[in-house]
Amino acid sequence: MKLSREWLREYTPIDVPDKEYCDTMTMSGSKVEGYELTGAEISRVVAGRVLSMERHANSDHMWVCRVDAGQDHILQIVTGAQNVSVGDLVPVALDGSTLPGGVEIHTGKLRGEVSEGMLCSLKELGLEQRDFPYAIEDGIFILQEEGAPGDDIRELCSLNDSVVEFEITNNRPDCLSVRGLARESAAAFHTPLTLPVPTVKGGAGDIRELLSVEIREAELCPRYTARMVKNIRIAPSPKWMRRRLRASGVRPINNIVDITNYVMLEYGQPMHAFDYACLTDGRIVVRRAREGEVLQTLDGNDRPLTADMLVIADAESPVGLAGVMGGANSEITEGTTAIVFESATFSGPSVRHTAIELGMRTDASSRFEKGLDIRGTVPAVDRACELVELLGVGEVLDGMIDVLPGELRETAIALDSARINALLGADIPEEFMVSTLTELGFGVKDGVIAVPSWRGDCTMLADIAEEVARFWGYDRIEPTDIRGAAVQGGYSQKQLFRQKLGRTARAMGYTEVMTYSFVSPSGWDKIRLSADSPLRRAYTILNPLGEDTSVMRTTALPSMLGVLATNLSRRNMSARLYELATVYRKDGGELADERTAMTLGAYGQGVDFYALKGAVETLLKAARTPDVRFAADRDNPSYHPGRCAAVYSGEERIGTLGQLHPDVARAFGLDENTCCAELDAVKLLALEGPEPTYTPLPRFPAILRDIAVVCDAETPVGALTECITGAGSDVLRDVKLFDVYAGPGVPAGRKSVAFSLTLRSEDSTLTDEHAEEAVAKILAALKEKLNAVIR
């Protein structure tokens, strides 16, 4: 909402500097977005009287003028314009003047003749013909304003105003008006407020003989008020009105349209004017549109209507889209002689719905959406008629038609200053509360607050507390520490567990990434998910920004691969990354099963399957996941069939790790040796083992024995290890693989695998014999079960 301070002063005398005005308004709740001086870019431009004109000696179209611009001498100014005559009063940009757009004017020579400045056109002053309809577009602006040579053009053309732009919150449609802001301003500065009540002389007949109004949808139109004017003379509106409209960001059109806009700005009540001649039978019917009806709106577009849209119709067809825009069929034209002013209240949601449906938000619709004061229709329509009489635009008929199907309600709230202070943590005197509320138009009597009709946002004491606090000053409320019962705060198990996973990953050199929760469904194809994969059952956004962000991810693998690809394409030579990513699974419930997936991804030097497996093992160790086991997974479509492991804790599948399938790597533009892991953090938390208790340190020394066995090349090391630990030795404490070899010295199709065994007894020093016995037992088991023989 743009507010002209000149207009504001009509209601309350506030003369503080702009900065101070804006700061005070912001701190009392009317947030100022910015302010500007109209004509701020214009300096040293004055009115000048053309005394004489001569043809330029060296030009066939230029004139050399002698101009009295109120300076110490008569100026000589050269102009190429052809519309100037001797005796005209024109804007003169003096030597050293500035014009909009940063233009500077200096004394110079034009084809040999000195020119001490410039005569200006409308455009050069940043104006339009709408502002000064008597002026012409391409030529010097011949002033018809009352002025004398030397008068500042900003004064003369009323360009010396400040316009303040407010951000008005949704709950305060009353502040989308000059009168509303005047009320706020007067309360903020404690200045007297004068809000005149419009008076209409009338006398041009009785409206009831010409017009009838019927509301068929009282829910959607709680009030419809109309007045009529006849013998209309369409013309430009006066300068002061055009200026105020323009300052408020509205383009002047003609006197009738300008009056409706002026009243909307002044009162906040949207108005509409119909050409009475276009209303069949002199009837106005507020009804729902009929399916198939089409209305051409004032902007020239044909609007197909539906039954959930409210229209203003005459006896036959719609003439306006209620609260949104009028119809072209009843538009005010040069030939209009009688008009109907509409000032109505429409239901906010209904107007909003219609405006959205038709894709046409208007100034009026955005006001109606917020819910307007039902008592505002009468003063607004009276004001419009008052302006008609003031401007001499036409003759106002007596009476008004005011249809109000329901009852007017009033809100009363008991003033409880102690509770207000308790809520705010302040000590505001009750007198201050009463005086503030009174300044804002609330009635306070016998401890009961009567809420004014335009303040639909105030329904309870908390609302009153805000009214009081914002004028008392939020900054005067003392900051305090929270009192009351001590409460135990902290992180949930889930959060602590995620923190631990993250810490461990970072300690291993993995860096955290963060990616969008919504992804492109094409990612599923890129990671080669089968057509019936349950991971394709995702929550789909019905109105996404684009395909790229249209489904909620069910797996974070494509996100990780996208990040790896970004880094590779930017020539970051290696990357080790992790994400604790939320994935959104459909589990049949109303809402998603939102789980945390931990993904790891890496490429570059030192990265291979085993490097990633080591990282996974360390993570699982930190997570105290019991009974971890890895098994070859040949069927995971995203990974290399020979380099992918399913990760288990006991029988529970907890994740996957592997080198990417080459097709997947290619789809993302990654190297084939890129490795990833996915772990289900929710399962890991559920499986997390108990906190360890102390195990006594060994009292007796251990014996280390290395063994090397030759087995089938196909036999997994995991099977050998399981066989060793399962061989039944009671002194085996640890098994560590230290070498795998195939080649000369080992038969084809076989491989040599070497382990280091740690043997120890807990109740005596182990003898060599006992150790040998244990090793023999292990070797026997290896031979028997896996045909692995000592080398």
Binding site: M27, K31, G34, N170, N171, R172, G348, P349, R352, I356, E369, G371, A422, L423, L424, G425, A462, A465, E466, R470, Y474, D475, E478, P479, T480, D481, I482, G484, V487, G489, G490, S492, Q495, G502, R506, A507, M508, G509, E512, M514, S517, F518, Y539, T540, I541, L542, N543, P544, T549, M552, V563, T566, N567, R570, N572, R576, Y584, L591, A592, E594
Partner: protein
């Protein structure tokens, strides 16, 4: 014999002094003091001496033996010291060469600041709670007192999952408030961080997904002063003790009275500059006293309890704190960016 001994003493001393390594010393020890050494050889001739001479010579021989042993020892220490010194010399490293790199991963900068904020609030007795991101309109809108015709409900503003508008991607962390109040009775002190979604095109200052931190305190006697005190604590811990804040009235459907908190521009200290668009202040967060209707809808009696709530955009805190000018950097995850924090 005495002369022989003296000669031995002289010769051995010189030999020991000139020995250059441990082996040479050992050879000398064997040569002079060994079982078959020169001293023993001389002593073997003691039989030829008179009874008077024997103790004198014996004493001298013992003295020489002790002397030799001591000299051997001291020479040995000196040699050992020299050897060590030489070894150390030869082992000298170029300490200006780089160390062996131990890669340390870094936390994402958003989580760095988030963890800082949650730690501050945990210290003040807050619990950190989370809620669903795919949320019911009942929680995200209705029970937060957001009116039917509020623009946030529009399809141009919110991402919808179901046609009937019952399920959407939450556009704020506030529904967690409702969920908490539904199952917890006061005193309540919670902080709820998480992802939120709004239909904004991606640019330097907008992202359709970003993070918010929601705070809620409900108890008997909670005041707006408490809200101000709590938020001042937060902002001063994040931006430093000298940070100046101001609270200005605003409107949110779920709080009453409502406010926005601005911090004084770090660049110009309130005078107005390009960073703060001439205002001198930078808008940081929205807050207010929990709307009585919101308390009521969650089964908490507003006649008995009051509370405050606030919501702050995490990205804004992060970008301001680390002078990051483009929000897109946060989600691109270029390791050269990530490793800076």
């Amino acid at each position: 014999m005495k002369e022989m001994l003296e000669a031995l003493r002289e010769a051995s001393r010189q030999a020991i002094d000139q020995a250059v390594d441990m082996d040479a010393l050992e050879t000398l020890r064997i040569r002079y003091l060994g079982k078959k050494g020169e001293l023993t050889a001389i002593l073997k001739q003691m039989g030829r001496l008179s009874a008077e001479e024997r103790p004198v010579v014996g004493q001298l021989a013992n003295q020489i033996r002790a002397e030799l042993e001591s000299e051997l020892d001291s020479r040995k220490s000196a040699l050992a010291a020299r050897l060590q010194e030489r070894k150390l010399q030869s082992e000298t490293l170029d300490v200006t060469m780089p160390g062996k790199e131990l890669p340390l991963g870094s936390k994402h900068v958003i989580n760095t600041v988030l963890d800082e904020v949650t730690d501050i609030f945990v210290g003040m007795g807050f619990s950190i709670v989370e809620g669903p991101e795919i949320e019911l309109s009942a929680y995200d809108f209705d029970r937060l007192n957001i009116p039917e015709n509020h623009t946030v409900r529009e399809w141009t503003d919110t991402f919808y999952i179901t046609e009937d508008e019952k399920v959407h991607l939450r556009c704020q962390t506030s529904p967690v408030q409702v969920r908490v109040m539904e199952r917890m009775k006061p005193p309540i002190r919670i902080l709820s961080p998480g992802r939120v979604y709004r239909k904004d095109e991606i640019d330097a200052t907008h992202s359709p997904m970003f993070h918010q931190i929601e705070g809620l305190v409900v108890d008997k006697g909670i005041t707006m002063g408490d809200l101000k005190g709590t938020l001042n604590t937060l902002i001063r811990k994040i931006y430093g003790p000298d940070t100046v804040t101001r609270f200005r009235p605003h409107h949110f459907p779920f709080t009453e009275p409502s406010c926005e908190m601005d911090v004084q521009c770090f660049e110009c200290h309130g005078r107005g500059c390009r960073v703060c668009k001439g205002e001198g202040w930078i808008e940081l967060l929205g807050a207010g006293m929990v709307h009585p209707r919101v308390l009521e809808m969650s089964g908490i009696d507003p006649e008995v309890y009051s509370g405050f709530a606030f919501g702050v955009g995490l990205e804004r805190l992060v970008m301001r704190r680390f002078a990051i000018s483009d929000m897109r950097l946060l989600y691109e995850n270029d390791t050269r960016f990530l490793s800076q924090f």
